[in-house]
């Protein structure tokens, strides 16, 4: 068992899976010699060569569309979109094609493809290098959406994603790449898709989060626990399919639920979680299911004063917990 950074866990998993299964290929912009702009694919080109580590032209629709085709002809592509913000030229291919291929062909064809992309703010990336894009994809039947928060989960979930027979979008919070470390066993373990994790047990308020916010939620829980508020934290890990049971079990116990997400609040992923909990745990609620999320501006602004204003942080979460606990 070794302590690894988040990005080391991802890099190793890619290498492991490529060794294990010759049908796995990696493609994307700058994934070859450069090893990716965050170095998530560093070393793969040297080990696996031009055929299995492909520097594509600067064309996201091609990256995804060709991955769909390749996956129908015997490969298991792992495509990297350099920043999640740049996934939208491929939106049509993901929504209209990858997500629907199996359904529309009545199981004639499947698309065993994984798309990895760094997402998220707080890194001085401004409007186009900070975006949270999960809401757009989590709404699409036929896709699976994964957002890990620990190196352990990153490895186990990326393995499951690559081995899955359907298209998986795997989003990695770029602020976590080097700042988050954790134990990662050397075994060939997997973390199954579709299961949330209770990362802290508590009795008064459930906080539901994912990605970077799952860390901030734990920090906030620490802070308010000193004030006597007992918080349970649920890290969703997989956003589609959502692990309703784990979420509902927690909220039915605590009676209060705060949903935290970094994306714009209106119509964001947390809206689904809040709506689902409000409906299905109605009789157990001692206060409104509350959301804490990004403000309604079209992106994270650059200047640090504006970026700080935009970002959710542990203090803002602690405040929201206090308000909800006092309800």
């Amino acid at each position: 068992m070794a302590l690894k950074t988040f990005i080391e866990a991802i890099r190793e998993t890619l290498a492991d899976e490529m060794r294990r299964d010759p049908s796995v290929i990696v493609l994307g912009e700058d994934v070859g010699k450069k090893g990716g702009v965050f170095l998530a694919t560093d070393g793969l080109w040297a080990e696996f060569g031009d055929d299995r580590v492909i520097d594509t032209p600067l064309t996201e629709s091609l990256i995804v569309g060709a991955s769909i085709g390749a996956s129908m002809n015997g490969l298991r592509p792992v495509a990297e979109i350099q920043f999640a913000d740049f996934i939208f030229p491929a939106f049509n291919q993901i929504l209209s094609e990858a997500a629907r291929m199996r359904y529309r062909s009545n199981n004639g064809f499947g698309v065993p493809m994984t798309i990895r992309a760094p997402y998220g703010g707080g890194v001085h990336g401004a409007l186009y290098h900070s975006q949270s894009v999960e809401a757009f994809f989590a709404h699409i039947p036929g896709l699976k959406i994964v957002i890990p928060s620990t190196p352990y989960d990153a490895k186990g979930l990326l393995r499951s994603s690559i081995r899955d027979d359907d298209p998986v979008l795997f989003f990695e919070h770029k602020k976590m790449y080097r700042s988050v470390r954790g134990d990662v066993p050397d075994t060939d373990y997997v973390v199954p898709l579709g299961r949330a994790s209770v990362t802290r047990e508590g009795s008064q308020v459930t906080v539901i989060a994912y990605g970077l916010m799952a860390h901030y939620a734990l920090e906030a829980a620490d802070v308010v626990s000193d004030e006597g508020i007992s918080v349970e934290v649920v890290d969703l890990r997989t956003l589609r399919p959502l692990d309703r049971e784990t979420v509902l079990h927690s909220v039915r116990k605590t009676g209060k639920c705060l949903v935290v997400y970094e994306d714009n609040r209106f119509g964001g992923y947390g809206a689904e979680v809040a709506a689902m909990v409000s409906e299905e745990a109605f009789d157990y609620l001692d206060g409104p299911v509350t959301r804490l999320a990004g403000p309604e501006v079209p992106g994270v602004p650059y200047n640090h004063a504006l970026e700080d204003w935009f970002m959710i942080n542990p203090e803002k979460i602690a405040d929201a917990i206090r308000r909800l606990a006092a309800y």
């Binding site: 290929i25 032209p57 569309g65 085709g69 015997g74 199981n107």
Partner: protein, 370 residues
């Protein structure tokens, strides 16, 4: 019939085929037309609510698909590709099942609109409605063929209007850079619904764009089946040799309205419509084969009768098949045994679906990782 065996007229020899091949090609063109005409009759009779047609495209489609190898090569077709699909292994019944959208429709089990063909067994990629997306699937299939060393060729076809979508540019560029075994076929019928080609494409020929990717761009007369065959044969050979993609533009005609929802007289001059029949590949091919002595009256009478019977039987069958049961509507959103925690049981090329690779996949691809 005298067309079996290796008999080879001068005409057949000129393209390296046998007379039997020519008759088989002709039969496919005629069958596609017969199926298509039946679709319109069924539509007017209120039996099927929507038709989108391949009439006027059949000759080019049969000629171009003919040199590809069934169950090995791949085609990503479009909604007018009835003759392409028939050439590549689908049957008249399969096509009619898609019109009726019955439970056993091999394209989609009744989930897709008529015209949205697809057939895993025959390496015909399931098509969607947003045009030109299949471009990239075919490119990706060709990429996998190259990486796995399977010797497969991937072809896709679409209209000239669709060729303006960004995906076509991205795909051609990538296929050319990597010299993929890929063929792009533009079936240019002069219209994208109502918009004439000169408002869709800045030059007279879509094929002009090939030069920008350093690949051959070939224009063929879509009413000349054997010219289409020859162009595609060359492109397929080139692809298999590892010399990269080809763009083939077939000038075809749209004999019908865009679809059964369209009123083409509103935007198409009467005169133009009147002149179309003269450009139709079906009578051209028929005379060509008759003149060459390949298609005798006896053979033609046989063909006509067998096609008629085939279409009739297909219609009866499709009509009688049951609708899908709503209890099946939730199936196949995902593969049904997931999430899979265990290492995958499938080998390279198979990924759990039959018929997508063939027995040689594993070794070929393992070779590719050396």
């Amino acid at each position: 019939m005298t067309t079996t065996g290796k008999a080879q007229s001068e005409l057949a020899a000129s393209v390296g085929l046998t007379d039997a091949d020519l008759i088989a090609m002709y039969r496919t063109v005629a069958l596609a037309r017969a199926v298509d005409e039946r679709m319109w009759i069924l539509n007017r009779a209120g039996r099927i609510p929507f038709v989108i047609s391949g009439q006027g495209h059949e000759g080019a489609q049969v000629g171009i698909a003919w040199p590809l190898e069934r169950k090995k090569d791949w085609i990503a077709p479009f909604y007018r590709s009835i003759a392409t699909c028939l050439t590549f292994g689908m049957t008249a019944q399969d096509i009619l099942m898609a019109q009726y959208a019955k439970a056993s429709d091999p394209s989609s089990g009744g989930r897709q609109m008529p015209g949205h063909y697809g057939n895993a067994e025959n390496n015909l990629v399931s098509l969607s409605s947003p045009v030109a997306t299949q471009m990239l699937h075919a490119v990706g299939i060709a990429l996998a063929a190259k990486i796995r060393g399977t010797g497969q060729v991937a072809m896709t076809s679409m209209g000239e209007g669709s060729s303006n979508q960004g995906d076509v540019h991205e795909g051609l560029n990538f296929a050319a850079i990597h010299k993929l075994p890929f063929i792009l076929v533009i079936e240019n019928n002069g219209y994208a619904i109502s918009v004439p080609a000169d408002r869709q494409v800045a030059t007279p020929d879509v094929a002009d764009r090939a030069a920008g990717y350093g690949i051959p761009g070939v224009v063929v007369d879509g009413s000349d089946v054997l010219a289409c065959y020859a162009a595609a044969k060359e492109a397929a050979d080139r692809a298999r040799r590892g010399d990269g993609p080809t763009l083939i533009e077939a000038k075809v005609i749209r004999l019908t309205a865009h679809s059964s929802d369209d009123q083409q007289t509103k935007y198409r001059p009467e005169q133009e419509l009147a002149g179309l029949k003269a450009l139709d590949a079906l009578p051209h091919f028929r005379s060509q084969l008759a003149d060459a002595g390949v298609l005798t009256e006896e053979i033609e009478a046989d063909l006509t009768a067998s096609i008629k019977a085939e279409v009739h039987a297909a219609t009866e069958f499709a009509e009688a098949e049951p609708d899908p049961d709503p209890s099946t509507a939730m199936r196949w959103v995902y593969a049904e045994e997931w999430p899979s925690e265990a290492p995958p049981p499938w080998g390279l090329g198979g990924h759990g679906m039959e018929g997508h690779g063939g027995p040689d996949d594993r070794s070929a691809a393992e070779g590719a990782t050396d």
